[in-house]
């Protein structure tokens, strides 16, 4: 058997033949980045490679003195004795799968991905490979996503119903990706202005500069006396329960996450409403993707890796879990 193309080191996933790390959790020389979420893109490395549509977001997160090197989707690059390329993962704008080829062997690192269409980013492309390293955040069969349009319609009706009762609607979404996806999907229902928390606002501006079309937005500001009755406000979950919320007075709160699929999670979180909207792949999507890659071996990161590995092994697909430091932005 040829030596593994990717191993787990104390710094993160590492490709010895190419001499680079993938989404390292400690500073390294060369880091190939699948996407800009905090657990995948960290400070301190010398060189970063990112997919071209993700450069602006990566610069925003790393600070302007960093110059991540862009790779077009599908563009090939020699690193060490490997050939690498980045391909759309459908997770957030600029998210990528990493394809590594070396002496006739192909490994693909999925990063985070989903199979549902998303107007803010290029759709996931299944890649034929020998070994597929997949995320497994929602790898239990209870996690199956309904069509996005149904969820966004629920959000829209919730907003309207709150308005009728004279309430503001505060929707908590992860600030990078989820918020902009909701803003883009809302175009099918309205062209009304949505108010944004500062953390969501800066990222939404970056998306807009990249040409992503969304409903009009305004930042929630301290100075102006805005009446938020009947308005929709998008904020990161960290703002929940903070003094920042006081300005909205009576409001209804909602939370967008794949975890909202389970009633216990909805109730424990204490939001008025849970909307099942995830940027991660669901159970049927995982199985379908594994088939599409034709991989002979599956390695798993995030979430329910152990359960999925056991299930795949029972189906006769060789699989195991990798211990990584990746977290889950949907939990935050």
């Amino acid at each position: 058997m040829p030596p593994p193309l990717v191993t787990v080191t104390e710094n993160g996933l590492y490709c010895p033949a190419g001499g680079f790390h993938i989404d390292p959790w400690r500073p390294v020389d060369t880091a190939v980045i699948t996407h800009a979420h905090g657990d995948h893109l960290r400070h301190g490395s010398t060189r970063y490679f990112v997919a071209e549509p993700g450069v602006a977001i990566a610069r925003h997160r790393l600070g302007t003195d960093h110059h991540p090197m862009p790779l077009k989707y599908g563009e090939q690059l020699q690193l060490g004795s490997t050939t690498i390329s980045l391909h759309p993962a459908g997770h957030i704008l600029g998210s990528a799968q990493l394809r590594i080829e070396h002496e006739g062997q192909v490994w693909v690192v999925s990063g985070d991905y989903k199979r549902q269409p998303d107007p803010t980013c290029a759709p996931f492309e299944p890649l034929a490979c020998d070994v597929f390293i997949s995320e497994a955040t929602f790898a239990l069969p209870v996690y199956q996503w309904q069509p996005t349009v149904e969820v966004v319609e629920e959000i829209f009706h919730w907003w309207r119903a709150n308005r009728e009762r004279g309430l503001a609607s505060v929707l908590f979404c992860y600030a990078l990706g989820k918020a902009q996806r909701v803003l883009a999907e809302l175009r099918a229902f309205t062209d009304e202005t949505v108010y944004l928390h500062g953390a969501v606002n800066v990222l939404t501006e970056v998306y807009r500069q990249q040409g992503v079309e969304m409903v009009p937005t305004l930042p929630v500001t301290g100075e102006r006396k805005t009446d938020y009755k009947g308005a929709l406000i998008i904020a990161p979950p960290s703002a929940a329960g903070s003094p920042w919320m006081r300005r909205f007075g009576d409001h209804s709160s909602g939370f967008c996450s794949g975890w909202m699929r389970v009633r216990g999670n909805r109730r424990r979180r204490g939001y008025d409403r849970g909307f099942v909207l995830s940027d991660h792949v669901d159970w049927p999507g995982l199985i379908e993707t594994f088939k599409a890659t034709g991989a002979r071996r599956i390695l798993l990161t995030h979430g329910y890796s152990d359960a999925l590995a056991r299930y795949l092994n029972e189906l006769g697909i060789s699989a195991s879990a990798l211990e990584t430091a990746y977290g889950d932005e949907e939990q935050q």
Binding site: L140, Q144, V262, R310
Partner: protein
């Protein structure tokens, strides 16, 4: 069923009681009468008699979902609710909630579910798995909830009657009365709820119970001692004793008819004049004093009442309120008036019908002194009732308070944990605790409640990081965390490994300051058992 499924979800996800009431009112107004009646039945906490066990449903689910059993178990453990797990794994995602076929709730129950009770296994299985496949998620979830009989939805009887009062224009207390006892859901019942005149035709029907709230802090906050009546808080079964139309009926607070359980009390009541309703407590009573609840429990547990058990566990009814006299509803009268009538009524009644005596003490301090004797007297503390209060419905704060004594407590080590139900399904919230016997920790109690939410979450992370072994949903954990546990009663038990059964164990606090080695020993608990009265020790 679509509208009721939507209502269920709305009630389940709404925190505000006003919005819950509004949602129920809207449903009651729009639903067909028979559906509204069934909804009332379900929302007020009644359930269909279960005819299919959870083990069988799980079996069918394994086949339907075509997944291995361990994975179903894993999914169930993370969801925490069987009805929901089934719906998540089987509901046809192809059918959207809005467009799927819809059948009225009453038809679902009367034409589909109830007839299935007597059908053979194959028919039951085919019908139910067929519905799983057809129904969209919300309705599938509701169907499973109806089947498993666990339809608790977080609305109190009080909220249901509030909504019904808005819809019918009938007073809440009157409605609460009309919902008591046994009734058949249907259009006829729904019309009866709207009737201006009380349709009370069944003389067996009790009044809704008035419930006390726990008193936190000192009783001096209640104002003048003279405005309050103090009684012992008895440790028995709260009950309503009805003498009407030549018959006697005894109801428990859980609205269960317990007439047959206590024939001697019913016999004694037969000597009362007609048109009487008493509120009081059934207690085990021997040699002039109340006996521990554990003794009464032996009698409740028996299917058949033998002469021997009647002799071992004699009972008495301690009356503390009079709700009806000469067929007249007295509940609006002030307590001091009802009490005067009660004293007169029971002055020379059977010794099995006694009045719950007043606790003497002219100041709050003197009452606190009396309360300190509670444990010796086998009572749970004091009841404080405003003398000018009427007899309300449900738990309305302000007029009746229970001033309980602090429970017994000991320190134990957590040894197992498993996920909770429903809202706590993703957290390890059900714990098993042990005490030391030599080098070994012997399980003595399971407890769930008592920790704050942040503590529960912190403990959940700790459990995940310190798991020793997993058995299904249960994890054994490193025996290092100590908790102070409280209990209400202690008894010898041959069925428990420790030889001890605790009643109502609960967590008082997390003793992060204590090493496991300093937790209590089984010998300590046995000593506590020896201090408990004789009858408790003998009972098993």
């Amino acid at each position: 069923m679509r509208a009721f499924a939507a209502l269920y979800e709305e009630l389940d996800t709404t925190q505000s009681t006003n919005l819950k009431v509004a949602a129920m009112s809207r449903y009651f107004r729009e639903a067909p009468p028979a559906d509204a009646a069934w909804a009332t039945y379900i929302l007020s906490g009644r359930r269909l008699k279960r005819f299919i066990g959870p083990a069988l449903l799980k079996r069918w689910l394994i086949d339907e979902a075509a997944l291995p059993e361990w994975l179903i178990d894993e999914a169930y453990a993370s969801v925490g609710d069987l009805a929901e797990t089934i719906a998540l794994l089987t509901a046809g995602t192809a059918h959207s909630e809005a467009t799927a076929d819809d059948l009225p709730l009453a038809d679902w129950i009367e034409d589909r579910l109830l007839p299935l009770r007597d059908a053979d296994d194959d028919i039951q299985r085919q019908s139910i798995t067929g519905w799983w496949r057809q129904l969209p998620y919300r309705q599938c979830f509701l169907l499973n909830k109806l089947l498993t009989g666990e339809l608790r939805v977080g609305v109190s009887q009080l909220l249901v009657t509030r909504a019904l009062a808005e819809v019918t224009g009938i007073e809440r207390t009157e409605l609460a009365g009309r919902l008591m006892g046994e009734w058949q859901p249907g259009a006829l019942f729904w019309q009866g709820l709207h009737a201006a005149e009380s349709p009370r035709t069944d003389p067996a029907v009790p009044y809704p119970f008035f419930l006390a709230s726990p008193l936190e802090g000192e009783p001096s906050q209640l104002g003048d001692r003279e405005a309050w009546q103090a009684e012992w808080k008895w440790d028995g079964i709260r009950g309503q004793l009805i003498r009407r139309a030549g018959e006697c009926h005894l109801w428990s607070r859980g609205e269960e008819r317990i007439t047959e359980r206590f024939p001697e009390i019913v016999d004694a009541a037969a000597r009362l004049p007609d048109g009487i309703v008493l509120d009081g407590e059934v207690v085990a009573w021997k040699d002039g004093s109340i006996q521990p609840f554990a003794l009464l429990q032996q009698r409740i547990g028996r299917k058949k009442l033998t002469a021997a058990i009647l002799a071992t566990v004699p009972v008495q009814f301690l009356a503390y309120d009079l709700l009806e006299l000469e067929g007249q509803d007295l509940r609006a009268a002030p307590l001091r008036e009802r009490r005067a009538h009660l004293e007169k009524l029971l002055a020379d009644a059977s010794p099995l019908l006694q009045i719950s005596p007043l606790v003497i003490g002219s100041t709050w301090d003197e009452l606190a002194g009396a309360r300190a004797d509670s444990r010796q007297r086998n009572v749970e503390g004091l009841m404080l009732k405003a003398l000018d209060s009427s007899y309300g419905t449900g738990r309305q704060r302000g007029a009746w308070w229970k001033w309980k004594i602090e429970p017994h407590s000991f320190d134990a080590v957590m040894i197992y944990a498993q996920p909770g139900q429903g809202r706590r399904s993703n957290l390890y919230t059900d714990y098993t605790f042990g005490v030391w016997r030599e080098q070994e920790l012997v399980p003595v109690a399971k407890a769930y409640s008592g920790l704050s939410n942040p503590e529960v979450e912190q403990l959940d992370r700790w459990i995940r990081a310190h798991t020793l072994e997993k058995f299904g949903p249960v994890r054994s954990v490193e025996p290092s965390q100590v908790f102070e546990l409280a209990y209400e009663g202690i008894a010898a038990s041959a069925r428990h490994k420790s030889g001890i059964a605790l009643r109502f164990p609960r967590i008082l606090r997390w003793r992060a300051d204590k090493p496991a080695s300093e937790a209590d020993t089984l010998a300590n608990l046995q000593a506590m058992l020896m201090q408990a009265p004789d009858e408790v020790r003998r009972s098993s």
